[in-house]
Symmetry: C2
Subunit: 461 residues, 2 copies
């Protein structure tokens, strides 16, 4: 009957906006009961979105009016730092009640993010600390760090009927949904997997070892979380069992955490390529954003000094033949942008596993070919433009040759830098165009002014 009365939650973006505004308006008038009620019409991710926009005092006022289940949902969905902040303001006993209702992996993350003294107090208050405690042992970015504890597992010697009885007895309503059931031997080593459907359709007296699939993909707890996510995405897995170095089953990674890792990884690559080295900048404070971006801009300024030095070296040439100045940005820009294209393709190819760093020469050959073709085409176009604009075929030739040579250098650099970084086990996305193009610029200027000194100046004087 409760189900019957429950209003379905809202998923339409416009309706979500209306409810979000209703919550904010109610809070404005200190009507927290109304705010809490409106909030419950939303799904947890949307609840968290409104919640994070509130002042700390208002957050606490509303939280008090919600059931521990909803409190747990909201804390699961907030950004990690926000979760830790809200949690730090709660009494240990209250926080323990909330944490018991959270997914064990999120609970472990929360305990790792708050003050150690508070975390210990909370752990003492938790009724089933064995669900969370083992998860605290692994770094946040390892497979063990994103695994959650197993609600249930089967032993290969059970019959289908015994397995179903076991599930009925052990499964608690607030456990995460189960889709696969992992099977161990008597030493708790992973030996197979059974789907719920296989149990549902299996004959009662058949042994689990007879219906289970032995071809089970697993990962060690110390492996990188990105490796786990790639494995799940590549083999379309809903859940990935996590084992220790003795094949013992420790926990599992669920698909939602794997999707989160993949999205975070893509975001990180995008930001790094864009010269924003860390974090999730569209949310963080202005202070953190400046701290995040200013060092790279400063580094960029230092590398740009290379270009400035090249131009300084040719200062008297440029003073005498000021017509050369106009084409500086074109030669440098073409090279920088061709390098950015090559770099982008190489970095993403490495991230997706399409390019292996051991086969870097294949990519190099390919990109050099593209550089030759693009360089020849652009060289011809730009030399025609220069010829017509400045009325000098010689000028056209110089600019054309420079663009052509610069595009070949760009292809070389755009492949070699990320591939070498990847071989040295740095993130290739750190070879951001922001740090990279000043170098290609300097090269471009050097090539252009050298070509001009050799082929232009001797012939016009």
């Amino acid at each position: 009957m409760v189900e019957e009365l429950k209003k379905p939650k809202v998923t339409n973006p416009d309706e979500i906006d209306v409810i979000e505004e209703a919550v904010l308006a109610a809070v404005e008038q200190d009507n927290f009961a109304e705010a809490a009620e409106a909030l419950q019409q939303l799904h947890a991710p949307d609840q968290a979105d409104v919640f994070e926009d509130l002042e700390p005092e208002d957050q606490d006022q509303i939280l008090e009016l919600l059931t521990p289940e909803v409190q747990a949902d909201i804390l699961e969905e907030l950004e990690d730092e926000d979760t830790a902040e809200v949690a730090s303001r709660q009494e240990p006993e209250d926080l323990a009640r909330i944490i018991e209702l959270m997914e064990p992996d999120k609970a472990a993350d929360l305990l790792g993010d708050i003050d150690l003294a508070q975390a210990i107090e909370v752990l003492e208050e938790i009724q089933e600390p064995q669900e969370v405690r083992p998860l605290l042992a692994y770094p946040d970015d390892s497979a063990g760090g994103i695994m959650t504890s197993l609600p249930i597992s089967l032993v290969e010697s059970m019959t289908v009927d015994q397995a179903i009885q076991h599930i009925r007895a052990e499964f608690e309503p607030d456990d995460e949904d189960i889709y696969y059931l992992f099977v161990t031997n008597t030493e708790h080593q992973l030996v197979g997997v059974v789907s719920v459907r296989q149990l549902l359709l299996g004959k009662p007296q058949v042994l689990i070892s007879q219906i289970m699939n032995k071809d089970v993909i697993s990962i060690e707890a110390t492996a990188d979380q990105e490796e786990a996510a790639r494995l799940m995405s590549r083999y379309d897995l809903l859940a990935l069992p996590v084992i220790d170095d003795g094949q013992h089953l420790l926990g599992l990674i669920t698909f939602d955490d794997s999707v989160e890792v993949l999205e975070d990884e893509a975001t990180e690559d995008i930001y790094r390529l864009g010269g924003v080295p860390q974090g999730n900048p569209s949310d963080i404070s202005v202070k953190s954003a400046v701290k995040n971006r200013l060092p790279w801009l400063s580094l960029n300024m230092l590398t740009a000094m290379g270009s400035a030095t090249v131009l300084s070296l040719f200062e008297s040439t440029l003073a005498q033949y000021a017509v050369l100045t106009a084409f500086l940005p074109i030669v440098a820009g073409m090279g920088g942008n061709a390098a950015t294209q090559t770099l982008t393709v190489t970095v993403r190819g490495l991230a997706l596993g399409e390019i292996e760093s051991s086969e870097g020469w294949k990519t190099l050959a390919r990109e050099l070919t593209i550089g030759l073709i693009d360089g020849a085409a652009l060289g011809v176009i730009v030399s025609l433009i220069a010829m017509v604009w400045k009325g000098s075929p010689l000028m056209g030739l110089v600019v054309g040759i420079s663009v052509f040579l610069n595009l070949i250098c760009a292809a070389l650099a755009g492949v070699l830098v990320p591939v070498i970084m990847s071989k040295l086990r740095f993130d290739p996305a750190l070879a951001s165009p922001i740090l990279f193009t000043p170098t290609t610029d300097a090269f471009g200027y050097l090539i252009y002014l050298t070509v001009a000194t050799l082929f232009f100046i001797p012939f016009i004087t």
Copy 2:
């Protein structure tokens, strides 16, 4: 007993490499039986990886030796164009047998990619065309285009016991695994969802309508595939039911397809920001890569003409005060890179839904603040460098002021361009730095040379 004998498939990357080489070596010696056997030690995505490296004749030789199940797996995992190519070479009856074993959404994609006449012949040979036919109606990039047909659905008036009998009777071993069961009324309109676990744990005589969850999130078939993927990622859904405008249940989208859409979307954004407008370039031919990248480089050259024009306008100034030339790349580079940072954060924020285009002014205020701070800091640093290097405090002042002003312009442009593009329903990632920085360069030169003309030249002459 067959299960007992089956060797688990290989997932270790090194072992995969060994088997891949064994397949290639066997093919080299025309020993296709050995190649086919080695291939079967791999999971489907890895089988497809080796398979796509083979010559067409070799592909066909091996394919003949594989069971239709394995043939179907490989065709599902190949890139769409490769699948279509391999399929085009098969006889209609053979292809029909393979397609019957493919997931309906992949089968529909394949039929849409091959020759129409062949597709019609194949459809006539298929035993259950009703599984595939409705999927052909929707564009590839819509929710309907990535949905698959429902292996099974329940009616709300069934009891738990009847539902289980229904599943046992209807479910075929090659159907996709079921995790949720969607519930309809007698008019086939979606009214709820039940998990397999709820059935497993439910009392036999209870009605489905009493245990089902009415809070079911769904999407219309004509909606964009990215909207479906965002919904599934946001609400952690394993499967999303697809309905028509009359709430009738048409099919479902599974989590693996949603992960694929999210990854493709991130890749597309990364490429566009890197000036590579389309496709999956680390795989495509050199010819396609040139076709893909050259137009953007050419466009970039045209926009770079703006910078060249600005420099041409100040040609006599630069000839007279060649010392100014050295700082051109620094002023322009700082602005371009700060703009790239702002652009990256804004584009990704828009893609992830963290920034809404209606709230663009919030982002603008934020980024302007960051631009003011970064601009002031960099302005001071660069003016000190210029002062020491060129021994001229005046020069330092000019460069410093220019960098400061340029960073403010960069923040403005980096927010306004993508937000306006998003409002006009263009992909904001098309505002790639490659097309964008020539404009900030031109602005940078203009600001710098104007400031120099106003404050530097009058005081040193």
